[in-house]
Amino acid sequence: MSRPFLSVANLAVHFPTSDGLVRATDGLSYTLERGKTLGIVGESGSGKSVSSSAILGLHRGTNAQVSGEIWFDGTDLLSLSDEDMRRRRGKDVAMIFQDPLSALHPYYRVGDQISEAYLAHNQVSKRVARARTIEMLDRVGIPQPDRRVDDYPHQFSGGMRQRVMIAMALINDPILLIADEPTTALDVTVQAQILDLLQELQREFNTALIMITHDLGVIAEIADDVLVMYAGRAVEYGATRDLMTQPAMPYTWGLIQSIPDVTRSVDLPLRPIPGNPPSLLNQPPGCAFFARCEYAQFVPGDRCATTLPDLLPLSDGHLKRCHLDHDLASYAVVETGAI
């Protein structure tokens, strides 16, 4: 039997603090095949970045408690030694971070920072690494790469900096790429360019891509599957088309409704989700979204407040974590929360 290319099973990342245990991620499971894209969506603090960093083993050496399994290309990454994990980090699995200005070291030339990634995993001379770096800069669309290779990060524009980060992540031809909100810090026009570039490179190298974002627009554009996270847990997971057209969990529906749309009439206000995500410390026993949910009234009894719903499959195969029995459309929700 063959395992999926990437299979995360029951992943939990907990941080012990003086105030108690922060459950940043709990019971997270998903799979991803080569050449495919998984979008992970959620608000800030929903555990998207924390869970993805666990794939690279970035929590090693910190006080985080990571449990579960991360099967990647036939090995459980969590069972690897620190040194074996380091060898795979940046080589087989690479990550692109949100703000390229702070993610690049201000004191070193971009060329040196990129070739450093190459030299860490290849026994080659600095000259070879430099040539490879220039080739990668050219590949990600930086003009005059042989000159820009000696520039410092502050001499690049935001979009160009993110291209540098992409070149750095892809220099070792990783088979899994994690992009942590790669376009959040960029102009809208540049966002589209970066997304196009990522997709193009993904096709070329047949890379599996995890796209972490809070922007459903980005997801709709590039993801094959979507995982919606809330308060450290998956609340809905399935094919992008199913999930976007038939959201089954009120939180997902809330996210979809709060996307600004240029074609929307200015008279129709956006519908933000009222309230804030709960603290990850001392989580209530029931559904984490309960306090903000407009649909909780349709669930009989106080099940939403007392029992955490399981992540269960729907008829079209996608998973939801919700006590509601029917489609969201069948409930009449009073328009509240609109500004």
Binding site: L56, R86, R89, G90, K91, P106, Y107, A120, Y152
Partner: protein
């Protein structure tokens, strides 16, 4: 790059001149300077003589102009032309030429201020350099160690010990070292300053050990904590996560990526702290009775030797300004972002 350096130096010169002006005005704002220089057992004859030697009867603008002139090209004492001309005939030895950059003349010491400072400066510079090397080396070393082992027992011990050392007053540490290390236990010979010319590098170093240690301990304690804080801050930056994500070894992450950014701000602090030491470590020099600039200042103060005090303040200020320029220029080499500004 060169334009940047030149700009910094020009600003430094302007700063230096303004500082001299302020010092000058401050010292002359406190009434008749001739009276304080004349001292406790002042007679009308002596007062007249002091006034003539220093030209205190001239308007303050003229005095300032002559002082600046002395800094630029040198000047002669006594300042009063008629008095000097008469003295040249009767007693030419009492006419003093003070070469540029002339900081003044001390009648009390019968020497130019420059000669005074030149006599006392080697001790201060020796102690400062020795202490500086010691505190930077151990301060940064223990600071990095504490940061790497943050929260572990080694970190706690280092932080605790530095807190105690930092709280100990210099006169206590100095007296303790002198009483116990030198006199009671005789681990080192009784500290006296020996110049390199007299005792060679070995004798020079041995003579400096205790006073330099006294001075260095305090700064070392401060630098352990500062370094620790800077390293911890640097290690929490996003680019450290990027470095780890590249698959670099922890050693490279810490020493290449972490320390580079952490130690850069230390550069400016260390430069200024060193400059401050050049003005003389008053307490340390007093405890060990080392003839340094700090002691010179104490003596000059006791004798109301105004010219020496002015000279010392200007030298101390100049040291700070020069170190500042040096640090700024060094910064441009260390931090690539500085160059564009």
């Amino acid at each position: 790059m060169i334009a940047y350096a030149i700009r910094r130096i020009l600003v430094g010169i302007v700063l230096l001149l303004s500082m001299v002006l302020v010092v000058f005005v401050l010292f002359f704002a406190s009434g008749n300077p001739a009276k304080s220089v004349c001292g406790k057992f002042c007679t009308p004859e002596k007062l007249t003589q002091v006034t003539k030697v220093y030209g205190y009867d001239q308007p303050i603008t003229t005095q300032f102009g002559e002082f600046i002139q002395g800094l630029a090209v040198g000047r002669d004492y006594p300042v009063n032309d008629a008095y000097r001309a008469a003295l040249e005939k009767s007693n030419p030895d009492l006419v003093i030429h003070c070469a540029a950059p002339c900081l003044g003349y001390s009648q009390h010491d019968a020497a130019t201020v420059n000669a005074d400072i030149a006599k006392y400066a080697p001790v201060t510079i020796s102690i400062a350099v020795f202490a500086f090397i010691f505190w930077i080396f151990f301060g940064v070393f223990f600071g990095v160690l504490a940061a790497v082992f943050k929260g572990k027992w080694l970190d706690r011990i280092l932080v605790g010990v530095t807190l105690v050392v930092y709280a100990l007053p210099t006169f206590f540490v100095g007296t303790f070292l002198l009483q116990y290390v030198a006199i009671k236990w005789q681990l080192v010979p009784y500290p006296t300053y020996v110049s390199i010319a007299d005792g060679g590098v070995g004798g020079w170093l041995v003579g400096l050990t205790l006073p330099a240690l006294t001075l260095a301990l305090f700064y070392m304690a401060a630098y352990v904590r500062i370094t620790r804080a800077f390293v911890l801050e640097s290690l929490s930056e996003d680019y450290i996560r990027t470095a780890r994500a590249k698959g670099l070894t922890e050693r490279v992450v810490l020493f290449k990526h972490g320390l580079r950014a952490a130690l850069t701000p230390l550069l400016s602090m260390a430069g200024l702290d060193f400059a401050a030491l050049l003005a003389g470590a008053v307490i340390t020099e007093s405890v060990f009775n080392y003839q340094g600039l700090g002691l010179l200042a104490v003596i000059a103060n006791q004798n109301s030797d105004l010219p020496v005090l002015i000279g010392l303040v200007i030298v101390a200020g100049a040291a700070v300004i020069i170190m500042n320029i040096l640090v700024d220029i060094l910064y441009a080499f260390v931090d690539p972002r500085v160059r564009l500004r």
